[in-house]
Symmetry: D2
Subunit: 260 residues, 4 copies
């Protein structure tokens, strides 16, 4: 499906503040970026670099006063995601070098502390895709989705205890549980068509049977029409905007529509 998506961020900036953005999706297996448009008001110099995950990052200094960023893009996306029940676990010794970093614990995904729970949840499931799906399904059924119950310091250990959170928390928990089973797992941020309520979204990918598969613990059914914006170990790596100063986010609008 062809999607028209984007977001608008408005800030109040008391004093000039450096910002690192991740606004610019790349074309990949499930998506083709047809067009992109960036508006930054007031006009501000931007420099771009590629981080160690391959994400395109934009650096700028937001000037004092009102500040607005608007991104809009048109993308062709896959209508469904691949589901592969039975796809086997890859033994650690056969994992590609560049997936090994996604086995390590990270700020929000303390896989070193969730091993017992992962064993419980996946008991009886075949190693690999079925374990990940058991984890995804368990989260979907046991964690309550509710805005305002978590914040930027909430980690997977917190979510495992409180059993409440938002998409980012669902993804962190899924990632931490997978890693504790020696399945590489990474964070994805992006857009999802017909997400309700509409917002930026987060989900995760797990590496089984030689490739990355998409999992979304906030959804009952596997759903396609996603636009991946960035990959990382967890939310620390893939913040759409990391600000190093006292900027106040005043408003945020997100849209994902079918492009006719």
């Amino acid at each position: 499906m062809k999607l028209f998506a984007g977001c608008e961020l408005t800030y109040d900036v008391p004093a000039p503040a450096p910002v690192v953005l991740m606004l610019r999706p790349r074309s990949g297996a499930g998506q083709w970026i047809i067009s992109e448009e960036y508006q930054i008001e007031p006009n501000t110099p931007v420099v771009e670099y590629t981080d160690t995950y391959g994400n395109l990052c934009q650096r700028l200094v937001a000037p004092a006063g009102p500040f607005r960023i608007e991104i809009s893009l048109t993308a062709e996306t896959a209508d469904s995601i691949d589901v592969a029940l039975g796809a086997p676990f890859v033994p650690v010794e056969e994992l590609p070098d560049d997936t090994l970093q996604f086995l390590l614990p990270s700020r929000y995904c303390q896989s070193d502390r969730l091993g017992a729970q992962a064993m419980d949840i996946t008991a009886g499931f075949a190693p690999g895709y079925n374990q990940v799906e058991a984890i995804r399904s368990w989260i979907q059924n046991h964690i309550t989705y509710q805005y305002g119950t978590s914040d930027a310091t909430t980690s997977s250990v917190d979510t495992a205890e409180k059993r409440i959170g938002v998409c980012r928390d669902f993804a962190h928990l899924g990632i931490a549980l997978c890693r504790s089973l020696n399945i590489p797992a990474r964070m994805v941020v992006g857009y999802l068509y017909k997400l309700d309520p509409m917002d930026l979204h987060a989900w995760f990918e797990a590496f089984v049977d030689g490739r990355w598969y998409t999992f979304d613990a906030t959804q009952k059914e596997p759903r396609g029409n996603r636009i991946v914006v960035a990959y990382g170990r967890d939310a620390a790596d893939v913040a759409l905007a990391t600000q190093y100063g006292p900027m106040a986010l005043k408003g945020m609008k997100v849209w994902v529509e079918e492009k006719l």
Copy 2:
């Protein structure tokens, strides 16, 4: 100046052919990409990766039949390029690690064979920027610009002998001469406002005084309003389209206009 630029490539494809494209500029010191649009007809799956120079590369298989790629983009560009007469040479031992590869000879820039000529051209000039400018100016005055006099196999050694070529040959010669003086130099492809006749363009950058400077041996005066599309050692690295099959390029249109 705000520029609207782009190109259209049309092909006749006798049998499905893999292609690697470099279509997607990044935002950097002298340019800010405001919007981009890609059209590929017929619609074809595309995957993107980042090469070792940081360029975004698009991989696809062109289907048999007529095939068309159109890229258009709007960019804010610097009206002038930095000129720094007197900027000093950086001794090799002080060069950043990632510039060292741009000292090595490459397919079209056989710096190992042009050392004597570089010494002649730069005799009496201060090491660093002034040497590079002496090279640039010498090429501008001694190489005749003429379409159809060189092809995809023409190297800087050929150009130094025949003294005729196009922008790519001018850049290759400049790069090879710089490298032979132990000044890192790299190839740039992109767009230049008011290039006459309009076409895709190539120039080079040299590393002096701790940063990269822009040099264009095809132009009498330093000119800004450039959009960099890709960087590399030479034209082998930065072909806008590298095709691995018998596709025939049937037409090519390039435009760079002021965006009002």
Copy 3:
């Protein structure tokens, strides 16, 4: 000083287990590796790769039974580390791209939760080196060094509360506090001459005034004669041995001696 250093790890392996090692220091600003020797018993195939931090990593599958790794190396090291009181803070917008990742919170360094404490500790100190030294000195004076009080799940937030730990905990706390002040900080593991009791060691580096400086909160005085083995965001990245199976570490011997 010329040092002869090394370590011996002995394991009991119930079933074949994949291991990722980081055994191999590189030569850098403060050290020159003169010789290295590796013994792995029984003999086991090893493959090497470079991680995203530039560390050399060795992958192998430890066979069932007794398993032993011994590394020994001779290195020329700097007798002192640079101390630069007054070296200024680098504003985030001027940081090199590759240092930005060391501003982000990580598994053991939850800089997002320690900002207030960092402000308290550094109140009145000049931004930059002096802030980092204030942090280092505060840790040295307020955290008790004691073996057996922390484990592989202990993070900087835990250490800030319990005020007890070992070198790795000291380093994590220093890193987290620096990052919360927007000073890039990274974990270092390696050897330190005359460390008492002798063991593998951990410390941290902070980026001020355009370069990385060494800080060690376990020591009263700045001390040189260090051999850096690996760099990372925190201990998750720089484990000398990351094992993916039920291997039991039965013994560990570390030595650092003057090589006459």
Copy 4:
């Protein structure tokens, strides 16, 4: 077989000269580096970095006067290399991203000029391994191995014409012919047991059937017991010593012995 190998380079340095070395093999599929030792006389600061191919590079400034580098290493090596007649060609669209750079022409491997010859040599051979072996065998039978017939400027086009050269020229020609058939090929430098006369050696690898295979056009039979030191596009990338100043190489000794 366990090998003890190394080399000694002695120079006469009229004035301090920067040098980039590639001395330090990594452990890989066919080799395990057990020990290494470096001697640099007089003692000189060395900094190490990793290039875009993953090679470990050492930077130093050779002081004026006599200068000596000695490397010695002990390695476990595979006694044979894999031979895979019939292993299939990988279509360009299925090649891993990081192999694509080894399809491009380079300084000494002008694959864009040797396509017709490659077609002639491989006529009738199955695409993939058999084509590469046909090329290797053709070079072995048609190019005369003779010292002193080529130099640092000699390229594959020269060797194809003159039909004479040394190991580096044999490798360049093999690489260029493979690339012209859209088979990724890369340069290898290292040590070969019982090479006669003993010297540093060069050969090439080609990517077929999803992995790299070793080919050596200087040898009648496939031979193992090799130590790979560095990989690159061609000799420009993998010089054991790249010097940026008027150093004179006064002597060179190479040894590869069985370690009993």
